[in-house]
């Protein structure tokens, strides 16, 4: 059956309901929670702090180190075995690349900024939720940065281009699906994350990226509001 209406009643350009909060882990230098639909990401930042072993240190700029981990009970089916796997390592790497361009790491020579992303429950879109949470946590930690990075997945189910696929849509088996996670620097309109599973035409990709840009900017407003909520609260 052609996928014309979304199973949860959303419009094609709508992302799922978002909740964002900053300062959720007290011991960390910065932290944030980002929830989109049933996908929840927690992110913490430790640092800038000393980097060991020393040969990894860079005297020109600080090192950004990201980890991404699904809690063992956070998968849609079976238990996820704890510990890093190939998928988690790749996601950590692309997250690093997504965040790197906005950070002024040259301010932290020889140091490391550690970002840890944890997922207590997932319903697709977890790398994007992780990037959203991580950018907020970095800002919360006071790391000097040029902008925050919102992220969302866009894609295609059948002929429809849509925003923020959930697991049902990602696994839709009656038509072909393409899943395109993107991250954006809102102030320059540049993408810092772009991946794809599936296939699209050049026109479809163009349309998807435009929708992604629009959705990212809305998410960006939510991220900023979460930071304001914390720091306005601190003043009281």
């Amino acid at each position: 059956m052609a996928y014309i209406k979304r199973h949860d009643g959303r419009k094609m350009e709508d992302f799922r309901p978002v909740e964002a909060k900053v300062g959720v882990v007290k011991r960390a230098d910065g932290s944030a929670m980002f929830k989109i639909g049933d996908t929840v990401a927690l992110a913490t930042v430790y640092g800038p702090r000393e980097l060991h072993p020393r040969f990894l240190q860079n005297p020109e700029r600080g090192v950004l180190r990201v980890s991404y981990n699904m809690m063992p009970f956070s998968g849609q089916g079976d238990r996820v075995r704890p510990g890093p796997n190939r998928r988690a390592k790749e996601i950590a790497m692309v997250t690093e690349k997504a965040l790197f361009p906005v950070l002024n790491l040259e301010n932290y020579p020889n140091a490391v900024v550690d970002v840890m992303i944890e997922l207590p429950q997932t319903d697709a879109g977890s790398r994007c939720a992780g990037i959203c949470a991580a950018s907020m946590a970095l800002a919360d930690a006071g790391i000097t940065m040029k902008d925050m990075v919102p992220a969302v997945s866009v894609g295609r189910v059948g002929k429809q281009i849509l925003v923020d696929l959930d697991y049902y849509e990602e696994a839709y088996d009656e038509e072909t699906v393409a899943d395109i996670p993107v991250a954006l620097i809102p102030s320059t309109d540049e993408f810092t994350l772009l991946q794809m599973d599936g296939d699209v035409t050049r026109e479809q990709l163009k349309e998807a990226l435009e929708m992604g840009k629009f959705a990212c900017k809305k998410i960006y407003d939510i991220q900023k509001q979460a930071l304001k909520d914390k720091f306005a609260g601190d003043l009281k």
Binding site: V25, K26, R27, A28, S31, D38, V40, L42, A43, T44, Y46, R49, S67, N69, M71, P72, F73, S74, G75, Q76, G77, D78, R79, P82, G83, P84, D114, M116, E118, P120, Q121, T122, D123
Partner: protein, 262 residues
């Protein structure tokens, strides 16, 4: 300040009966328990003791029983001290502290027969449910162990079996059948600095103790598991005192947990 100086300072404070944060020696920080925090788990709970926070999740899967217990399901408890929760935790394979924590919690559940293992049997000798509890720390501000014990129990109590049609498990559909929990073991860790005993350490207290004893308590004041930690030895009298303190404290935690039971 050196570690020994800090310890002396704590010791002096404990003598007055009031701790740095104003609590009495037998006083816990505020406890909150929230269940159903992870929809992908069959049961889950988030427990906060002060700023300490852990999440426990239960996954149920089907496997073959152990040959010596063909009619019983299996239970395993794992703990991950996530690097997110403390500047002192590093990523990598589980360290000895998280292994100890998981084993102490596991022992309390197992030895008290908290889960009715016989009811986890689907077909004798062939198929049984395996219960996996995973504990993830979110923020370490002291006393991860007691927080994990409460979270584990609350998550087990929150668990429903997924649908199983004899061939495959449908994790999307939870049945109305609850996990059979028959006992409620609660671990309480009693700490000792100098000659003073106290519960629920802050992170600083937890970094400077001489000895600790985790006493896992059942409803009827029965002790179902013990674990001593720390480098200082304990006399029989001290152990008795520590168990008494755990006994006195357990009902308060139990009340929190029962208040959560629907």
């Amino acid at each position: 300040m050196s570690k020994d100086n800090m310890k002396d300072l704590f010791s002096k404070y404990l003598e007055t009966g009031i701790r740095f944060d104003g609590r009495k020696l037998d006083e816990f920080r505020d406890i909150s328990i929230e269940v159903g925090v992870s929809k992908t788990a069959e049961g889950s709970a988030q427990v906060k003791i002060g700023d300490t926070e852990v999440i426990a999740g239960v996954k149920l899967s089907i496997g073959a029983p152990y040959p010596d217990t063909p009619e019983e399901g299996a239970l395993m408890v794992g703990a991950e001290f996530l690097p997110m929760s403390s500047p002192d935790f590093e990523s990598g394979p589980p360290g000895i502290e998280s292994i100890e924590l998981a084993r102490v919690i596991d022992r309390g559940i197992r030895e008290s027969h908290a889960v009715d293992n016989k009811k986890l049997c689907i077909t004798k000798g062939e198929q049984v449910w395996t219960v996996s509890v995973d504990i993830c720390t979110v923020n370490d501000d002291g006393n991860l162990l007691d927080a994990s014990g409460l979270a584990t129990l609350a998550a087990l109590m929150d668990s429903y079996f997924p649908e199983f049609d004899g061939v495959a498990v449908d994790y999307k559909k939870k049945s109305k059948k609850k996990l059979p929990i028959v006992k409620y073991p609660i671990p309480i860790t009693v700490y000792k600095i100098g000659e003073k005993l106290f519960v629920d350490p802050s992170i600083d207290e937890a970094d400077h103790y001489d000895a600790r004893l985790t006493v896992t308590m059942l409803e009827n004041d029965l002790v179902c598991a013990l674990q001593k930690g720390g480098s200082a030895p304990l006399t029989a009298e001290q152990i008795d005192e520590m168990v008494a303190l755990a006994q006195k404290t357990a009902p308060k935690l139990r009340k929190k947990l029962q208040g959560n039971k629907k």
